[in-house]
Symmetry: C2
Subunit: 232 residues, 2 copies
DNA sequence: CTCAAATCTTGATGTACATCAAGGTTTTTT
DNA sequence: AAAAAACCTTGATGTACATCAAGATTTGAG
């Protein structure tokens, strides 16, 4: 009945939520087992909230399956998407180390499984295994760099360029294909890029007219000319 | 001759650079002494660069005295100020935990003293004293929250509101006075807020006409009506 | 499969803010 | 103290993008 709450019961025997996650996957088996005893897991349906701004928080949330959007409401009430979490990403850290109130909203974009670890449990882990701290520090510093890049872009680039950069950076570097799978609706993409759906729509057609991209379906875009896109 | 490089020789005997700094000031005396042996200190004249984007990095920089601006150049070459460091603040962390190349510039806004600790030395410290990690994690999560707030503002607020918010948040909450001391030139402020000096100038005079503020000198602004300013 | 709701597109219009330019002021240098 | 350099102000002009509106398409629920 409470199956879905305790991770060590929530799936296949060997389905370690945390083995996917960069901040834990470097651990030896015995340590991994120890961490596992601290993990709680929970599932969310598409559209459900994982947490809300203003709510108190005492856990780190790790995405095991699905996709999660993190967004804020601006002073004037507009929704602004900060980032999209994919499996392996985590959130909730702000509340973990500082005040215990979320400053953003998290909601499931698809059916999602989350692994949670409680504030105190995590802090004990960090003191016991400094390596985990190092991983989280590394992750934080990545996020910080990314966030500052985003800030710089909002402050200095035109919408057109922000869209172009988003497309290029969405390219899977491993795969040969130059097809981008948009991870969200254009409405959400607009919010993420600080613009409107109308503008996204128009700019994409401009890119297409210029032969830079090809819109295959609503969520699939083939990039024909990466370099050209960046010269916009 | 090398006096300025080794902190334990660089000033008063008891002038522990690190005793000011939140990430170290919780340490006991013996640990503090240990950290001190790892610290290198250096002075910079106003306008001098502390590091440049693209340069390799292997140190954490802590501001002991003075003021430092951290800025980036956008894809299109525009300068964008990310933050201003005051005594006690640190930087260089991005390069510390990930790739070893700076993605931003740091330059001294006034004559500045910096304490440095080398990458390897810091990492050993972190493994030895997990408390320090916790402090840095807390500091990081603060910075992240701040950076995301900034992103949201750029994406959703008009320039007018960004300026108003900047003014209000610059108010020293402790002091009774409602006078804000701008920490930088209006040119730099414009870059920080993602606008132009012209617009800053105009908006400030609009605020003044509306009786919301009073420009005392070029760098001193008295806020007459905090609430009014936020309703812009 | 059907219908309703949500999302996307396209055009017409408006506006916040950048840009350009040129004179005035402050700060820095010597 | 004088000269140079950087900064700030103010006006005139331009434009990138938001907003509003209404039809077209996609998505999802029953």
């Amino acid at each position: 009945m409470k199956d879905h709450v305790h991770c060590h019961h929530c799936g296949l025997e060997n389905d370690y939520c945390i083995s996917l996650v960069p901040i834990f996957n470097h651990l030896e088996k015995p340590q991994m087992d120890e961490v596992m005893t601290l993990i709680h897991s929970k599932s969310y349906k598409k559209g459900e909230d994982i947490y809300q701004s203003g709510h108190t928080s005492d856990a780190l949330y790790i995405v095991r399956k699905g996709r999660v959007k993190i967004y804020r409401l601006s002073e004037s009430g507009k929704e602004q998407i900060l980032r999209i979490l994919n499996p392996g990403d985590f959130t909730g850290e702000l509340a973990l180390f500082n005040e215990s109130v979320h400053d953003a909203y998290a909601s499931a974009l698809s059916d999602t499984d989350i692994c949670m670890i409680k504030r105190n449990d995590l802090q004990n882990l960090l003191l016991k295994y400094p390596n985990i701290s190092m991983r989280i520090l590394s992750e934080f510093s990545n996020r910080l760099a990314q966030s500052e890049t985003q800030t710089t872009r909002f402050a200095t680039e035109r919408v057109e360029m922000r869209i172009a950069l988003f497309l290029v950076e969405s390219l899977d570097t491993k795969s040969e294909s130059h097809v981008v799978d948009l991870p969200m609706s254009k409405k959400d993409l607009a919010s993420f890029l600080g613009t409107t759906p109308e503008t996204i729509s128009r700019k994409l057609f401009e890119f297409e007219d210029a032969g830079l991209i090809k819109q295959i379906t609503n969520k699939k875009i083939e990039i024909m000319d990466v370099d050209g896109l960046l010269l916009i």
